[in-house]
Subunit: 202 residues, 2 copies
Amino acid sequence: MSGRVAATVEIWFEFASTYSYPALSRIAAAAAAARVPLRFKPFLLGPIFASQGWKDSPFNIYPAKGRYMWRDLERSCVRLGLPFKKPSVFPRNGLAAARITVATDEAARPELVSRIYRANFAEDRDIASREVLASILAELGHDVEGTLARADSPAVKDALRAETERAIALGIFGAPSLVVGSELFWGNDRIEDALEWAQRTA
Amino acid sequence: MSGRVAATVEIWFEFASTYSYPALSRIAAAAAAARVPLRFKPFLLGPIFASQGWKDSPFNIYPAKGRYMWRDLERSCVRLGLPFKKPSVFPRNGLAAARITVATDEAARPELVSRIYRANFAEDRDIASREVLASILAELGHDVEGTLARADSPAVKDALRAETERAIALGIFGAPSLVVGSELFWGNDRIEDALEWAQRTA
């Protein structure tokens, strides 16, 4: 494959999404190892779930599925060597974190995004809180006030709405989702398949 | 690990379930290679879905998820070298096939079950039809009339109802599911994890 450039993989994620935690914690390294260009695409699942008649996470609406998910997520984190602590509140509203991600340069997104997921799913911190997000931005050396101001701007709000509309148009119904050309892959379990697809369809 | 006997894996399946097709086509060989004892447990998803308010497959109720599933299933079959043809009717009622499986000795189940899945998902045959099931039993050298008669008996009907009740008690909410002791694994993607768990918890 040397000399060929792989197709780009878009990773679509929602900060409330549980399986997005292991996915976003490992995908940057996996894509780099596979030499696959990666783009980080935050979006909101809320409007998509609402259009299906769900006003809450399906993991809360369907308790057997929810109980399974928490245990499966814990096992997955153990396998990956990731810290995990079941959040005391689920789902946490990912809107503010998504806007901050949109307000951040693509190059800085991998580190920022995985750090926010860790706050939610390993440290049980409230990622809907402006203070928590500000402390993460500061920890990573970002311009805290500038980023928060951009995140509140109409341009960023509109951009995030447009991304969510594009997610729907792409057929996305859950997170994480991966898009390679016209192919859609859903779930942390499909990262390797999506990267291989990108390598083959360069 | 030599000398140790692995824990038993129960594979719980419903004949209407799409991802059960690749799972039941490959699990017998995978379990044998891992030296893990395997038990085949047919059950019915209908009562479980009905208790969640679903009167149809969630893949029909949620069209974006359904469109994705058919494409993902096709890709999975290509990867595994399995023939695939999208059934013209979905879901097909798996009740008769489940009763026939319950009426069949454990040793004969792996071949019978994978053959019935192939009829549904690679040959587009109606596995709710007594004639289709009779032809499969004949092809595999079973006692056709004796098996069909046992499948219609109150003992087999009661046994299948009891298995579905046990599935609910185990926390099963979809198919295929794998049970190893008190651990539940869901999906074709979790076969390897379940087999490893059985090896570790012998």
